[in-house]
Symmetry: C2
Subunit: 284 residues, 2 copies
């Protein structure tokens, strides 16, 4: 295994209730026929569209709580309502205040960028399906006017349905990974939010190193590495490559992205305790 | 741009003071000759070896502070001394206590894994070259017995030297990205710690979406996406593919991974303030 190919599929604009399996299979058949062992990486956005996970903002019921959180964060109260409905809210990041210099430095059009930041000055840190994400993955961008797109209800299940649909139509035994763009440091990167037919994490923890010693490491986030690599081809805005086919990787069979939510929350609390103990020497 | 190829180069074991440019150029010449526009992704570990960034543990001077931090974290006091020398320590994560169930579930050999976790039960969160990392990137694994490997002193500068060396020998105008494995959620992934000849972040913030609206997004961490994809080929343990050549990506010229350290620290403080305001409603 010394070469991987990431092939982008331009499946065109996806509309609500489109049959995504058909679109993927037809586009692939024309330019890059699917074969056993291929990994099909699909952006969550088109899966949400095909599953009709769109919400009309004006039809959302807004409570006092939603208005209060909107006042604190600047997020549209209708979006706040949807985020609380979709997830558990754990914290907030003042994205505009913190990152403005870095983000505007990388703006294609500073005026449009200012407008976008003014519209969404903060983000909520949320837990959904046991995984951390921002704003529960709720997204106005690339959505029809006045609509928000929600993440697929059960991303692992969506991946499984796509995998089985592709196999039924082509006979190819493929894996499917769902990707969603997430904030990471000074920018964003696509991470895996669901998968089927592939083990999301490499099972090599504690493997020995080149010198024969067991090492802390080898828990490669294979599914995230596939989505991150695919993001090099995904159109973030006005391009239309929401699907890649990755060929050449040997991988283990498996289902689902591990639910690490409990670990993350436990980790946050314990990390704060340990850091306080560590810093006590400097602080007191 | 609809297809990318990640080609892994097996350059063999790298020893201190080896000429890494020669090794990369010779291996590539034999199996995958370098050409203009290629991106060469190199693990920091082999760059550190070639730059002789190895420390004999028994020659490290250990202070009272190092013993105290070792008592709190379980990290070898000699490693603590090196970490403080290499970076600013910001906090700690009790990795064994928090992640033991997840990590052992993904262990190739649970007994060896237990041993590895017992040896490194906690990690320090550090800032180095303005970027966050764990344990300042100091690593005992894949190091000769009794030695620790440090990160390259200036990873952007190392990337620049490799890029210029490759161009001098082959005439190929390539980009170079240095990758280091980092803890991310329930596992690890390779991120970019240095680069040359490529803009690390895509400059599309505030670009309009498919519906013509400016969006918060489009700040793709291109260099991190390249290292994450390459990690699918890198040997984490006893394989020897520390270099990939990525072909087919259109990218902007640039130098260096943005130093976001100040933003991250400012962000931490402001996020805590905002979260407290948000949670006050529930907590008080």
């Amino acid at each position: 295994m010394t070469e991987l190919t990431f092939h982008g599929l331009n499946i065109g604009q996806v509309e609500p209730n489109d049959d995504l399996v058909d679109r993927i299979v037809e586009t692939a058949a024309a330019e890059y026929p699917l074969t056993d062992g291929d990994i099909v990486v699909v952006t969550a956005k088109v899966v949400s569209f095909a599953e009709n996970r769109l919400v009309e903002a004006d039809e959302v019921e807004v409570t006092d709580r939603d208005h209060q959180v909107a006042d604190i964060t600047g997020i549209d109260p209708r979006e706040v309502a949807v985020i609380y409905d979709e997830s558990e809210v754990i914290g907030a990041i003042p994205i505009a205040e913190v990152g403005e210099d870095v983000l505007l430095e990388h703006a294609v059009d500073p005026e449009a960028a200012q407008e976008a930041l003014a519209e969404v000055p903060a983000m909520l840190v949320t837990e959904r399906n046991g995984r951390l994400c921002t704003n529960a993955g709720v997204d106005w961008s690339n959505s029809p006017d006045g609509m928000m797109t929600l993440l697929p209800e059960d991303p692992d299940e969506s991946a499984r349905r796509l995998r089985e649909g592709i196999e039924a139509q082509t006979g190819a035994d493929v894996a499917v990974v769902l990707a969603d763009s997430e904030i990471a440091g000074p920018g964003s990167m696509d991470l895996a939010i669901g998968c089927s037919g592939i083990e999301a994490i490499d099972n090599n923890f504690g493997q020995t190193d080149l010198y024969g010693e067991p090492k802390v490491g080898g828990v490669d986030l294979v599914a995230d590495e596939l989505t991150a690599g695919s993001a090099l081809l995904f159109g973030q805005a006005d391009e239309q490559i929401p699907v890649t086919v990755v060929r050449g990787l040997e991988y283990e069979d498996g289902e689902g992205v591990p639910n690490s939510g409990g670990v993350v929350r436990r980790g946050l609390r314990k990390s704060v305790q340990l850091t306080a103990r560590l810093k006590a020497r400097e602080w007191f």
